[in-house]
Amino acid sequence: MGEEGGSVTLLCLTASSGVPLFCRTTGAPSKHQLPFSVIGSLNGVHMFGANLDVLLTAACTANTHVVWRVFHNSITLIVLSAEEGASDFALGRLLDNTFSAMVLILGLEELVNIRNIERLKKDLRACYKLIDSFLAPLERSGDLTQCVECVPVPHGAALQEGLEAFVAAAESRFGCLVVGGRLALATEPWWQLAPQELLLLSWLVGSLPPPTARDYPIYLPHGSPTLVPRFWKPLLEPLQACVRPQPHGLPPGTTLPPGVLAFLLIHREQRSSQSSVQPPGSGGEGLSPRRRARALRHFYALVAARYFPWEGSPAPPQEPFQAGFPHRARHCYVVSATHKAYAIHAPQHQLFLLLAPHVPTFALRPLAARALQRLTGDAAC
């Protein structure tokens, strides 16, 4: 999130006593540390309201968005974002992911019944890497869509077989293959985890230093927030080695129509996504990959928050904006100075495309329909 322009500051405090647990910041280093008085009053206004049964959820100034959220009456998360294009939608997802990450590492029990604050502070350090990755998601989008990002692999069947065998050998049912932070293959039980858990796990793996073997105890925020299913991946490296990373995240042999700068395809039922900010044929023209990713994220947040049906967690506290539409939105596009963007809400998929500005506006729709067809390999879409 934090890049180009604004900084993002994430504060974590105990809800009851207001003791700051941690503070993570990205972006402009000059004011990376908020003075304690500010942290105190940010928490104070929220606490004051809560005492009067008035829940302060968000505020914004001309350049900054602030969002408050309390989890389980125990942990207060506050985020200040000076990013351009920050929205309540995106910040809400950030806070939700952050808390889930804390549960993933520490377990819910630890967070709800805080016994030793100093101890908790130390323990929370383990989450920093993962939380920081949410603050600066770079070219990824899973945090926002709450879909596990997938990458198509060649020889999928053979690898799948290998994975199943390996997982059985490890005496676990859950196993997956992660390529460059994205999920390539997984066992059947793995897919039965909640979408957010899948997402967190792959982001967790991505945030860890790259050793050959990983043995990491976790708590699943949805499935079993208090139990630790331990898994082993001692033989991951050879597998990883046989997979050539696919920078463009496309199934082999698939091409996209010209002019597509970036795409994000969501499989609605599975809550999985494929995306790329450098699809073949897009070349180096126009926006840099980083800026394409930002533009695509921004477009996704806009469309998901306003038009398309609400998907993923958290459920909005109030009926969302799109509930006010008597009719259902199916497609949506935006034309801006640097790019065009098009979104399709199909029965099974959602497709978000970023296109070069020279693509004529009237061609957006047929082009997007063709892209969806090619990506899903389904003529019905």
Partner: protein, 953 residues
Amino acid sequence: MKWPLLCSMFSVGRYSIPRPVTRNLEDLDSVQSILLHSDLEPEWLDSVQKNGELFYLELSEGEEETLLQDSSSEVPAVNHVRFCENEAEVIQEGSRKERKYEPRLKKITKILKKKSLLPKHSGKKGTGGSDGHPSGPTSILKHQSTQKVGVIVQQRYKDVCVYVNPKRLPNDGAGEKLKLLEALVGIVHQSSWSNKRAEKQGEQDRSNKGINEEKLVVHGLIPGSSAIKTGQILIGDALVAVNDVDVNAENIERVLSCIPGPMQVKLTFETSVFEHEGTSQQRYKQAQSAMNNLVKLLWREDNMDLQLAIQGMPHIVMYLTLKLDSETSKDEQEILYQYPVSEASQKLKSVRGIFLTLCDMLENVTGAHIISSSLFLCGKLVQVVYWKESDKLLVIGLPAESVPLSQLRNMITDVVRTLKFMYGSLDSAFCQVENVSRLDHFFNLFFQRAIQPARLNSNASPSAQHYDSCSALFLDNLPGVRWLTLAQEIKMEIDTALSDLEAADFAELSEDYYDIRRLYMILGSCLFYKGYLIGNHLPKEDLIDIALYSRHYCLLPLAAEQRIGQLVIWREVFPHHHLQPSEASGVTGYREPEARYFLLIVGLRHFMLCVLLETGGCTSKAIGNPGPDCIYVDQVKATILQLEGIDSSIEERLEAPAIPCLSCADWFLPASRDKLESFTTPPILSKLQNTSKTTASPISKRTLFTDSSLRTRKLSPSRSSGGSDNGSEGPEEGGGLNLLATVDQVRKHERKESQSFGGSEGSGSLFKVTKKKHTLPNPFHLGNLKKNLSEKDTELYNAVKLTSGPENTLFHYISLETMQGIFITPTHKEVQQLSGSIHPQLIKNFHRCCLSIRSIFQQAVMKEKKKNADSGSNLDSRKASSDLNLVREHGVLFECSPDNWTDQKKPPPTMTYWVVGRLFLHPKPQEFYVCFHDSVTEVAVELAFKLSFGLAT
């Protein structure tokens, strides 16, 4: 002047002017001289407040009657009748300035006076300038006398207002003339009885007259009459005055015969039975200020339920000070103003600490003012918006379900602008005690409009009401006024009339006439008809100011329904545009004079003319709080009267089929096809008929489309499931020479095409085939349009549609000309013509989507401004980062299906349509929103946007 050109595109040749407006000077002068030289004193004069302000509202006749009959017990204070000075003074009258007067009664008084029926009071009455009326500079003002009027409380008299309608008199020529007192009012008086009684009662009053005047004692009341309906007239009461004209048995019939038309009449009774204290108290509580009456008028009788419903909603407006004075230890001293005081808002009030802290803290941390915050209380998400100015903070909170946040931000901006226009600054608006009740009314209307916009127009038809309620939220905050395109000739009339008025050249306003400087210079004026702007000679900023003001007081819808008979508003205003020296004016060396500004609004029936006056520039300086100047009011009124001839032409324009043509969403669904037959022929069909005569025959068209649909089916057999049975029916219908069926068929084929391709590339090419062969002139080409105009080919002109292709696929549009401060959108009538079940939903959906689109555009414009502001300093990095949000165009495709689809076997048919908004920044800022059927080729959309330039050049 750009204005006359504005609508030329659509207007030429369409309207004839059946009643040419009198343009010769004698006629004009005669109107003016009647107004000027008549002895009639303006009805509104008594309503002028101490500070010179006037808000005078006179109901239309129909409105008056309904109000009166619906609530017979409570006398509507709007028309509360009272004369300035009378012995039969109303008991327990409130403060003087709050009273309202019935104007036409006064006219009667005048007539009576002339007929010397009013011997006593007329002498004392004088000009009737209220005590609140200040003595302005002596000049050409007609009446300047100030007069102290004593309030004599006499408990023996009671006033009863009754509605009389002489036109409804039983018209039996046979027999003796029915006594007017019985026929008109419903009071039975038998003279033979009363002689004795008269001696008993009130002898002392009448004795000085020296005549044996028999007292009009009520002996009976006629059932069903207005007298008995009031429930306040009792047998035994004696009628002593009608509209403060003393009456007796001798003159009563003559007095009553002077009532010219249906109106409300005040009867004053001498009563032996004293009114119960409570009821009179309650009754006169109603006699509050005019604003209050307006609120009541708009809320109507059922206001209690509504008030309660709204009170349950957490909403608040507060004006807070950030500077705390520790010396005074007043409770809640940081609250300078607050509205409303209800339980739900109490909670919001109790957390004002949050607002103050956030405002202060976030400004320190981020270096920018706080804009908004969201709270969750009482199970509702409440959005709070802020406006900080120096050390004061204006806070408005409303539930998110009523108003989306982006819109609430616009609303607070508009509120601030309106308040500044009315009071000069927020401080002067909120920090003066006498303004509190005015602000209460102001915000009462504000919340009413925000929470239940539909309630304000309950008179209108359901469809118009629906249109209003779903468009109000969006349209009310557009920086523009709803514009009605009119024929060139009518525009000329209007512009000439307005120019004449602005020249202020009329007899008594010329400086030579009295040899003194004139009081006011007319800066400009704008004319509304039924809430549509039809003429404007004001700079954009002033126009917006005035529009915001009149929008806020709901004057425009009032005029639309003719709920007002007459409206006169006068107040000092502070137009930002003139008071704030802009940089541009500094360059040219021009400086706005140090002047004061006054707004004069005169409404007569459907017309409303707003005039901005300046004093102190080249005119004499205003001293104190000058009240409305009769001459200016009369001149404005004369201008309206002069223009009244054009109302039939405007009505014709309003009744005419929509230009550009609109389609109804329901026509595109197969389910509604059967119903279509029963419709009165939709305008589009009749138009098509016209054009097909001149262009292509229906048969050729039919073959063309059959051809294309066949190909369609060949190309995608699997997808034509919904269309196939239509296809089998189609030829039968088409076989008849029924044009309706032909059009219907065309429509069906088109639907099929769009269904079968779903936007794949093939559809585009196929459409091109049909389009090329299509013989209708393409209305997008301005060249074509111009040719049409020059040829005055009304037939072709009638068929102007925005979209290309065989069928008109445009559902709705809004074109906002930011530069001129106007927007153009289909009129209520045009929308009413398109009934159906889906279409109203579509209209609602369209406006909601526009809210969203416009909020994105506003971000873009804001960014653009910011970029321009700090361009120069590291231009590249700025450019790189801020381009992201510069959205120029935004569109959403919606899908809908019939509400109650009963067929289990088949899925409900769907119809898809686009809502597209586009923002133009160059060459001039413009916003354009359209809603059209999915089948339109995208090229046509491009053309539609181009046409938007044509709409308003």
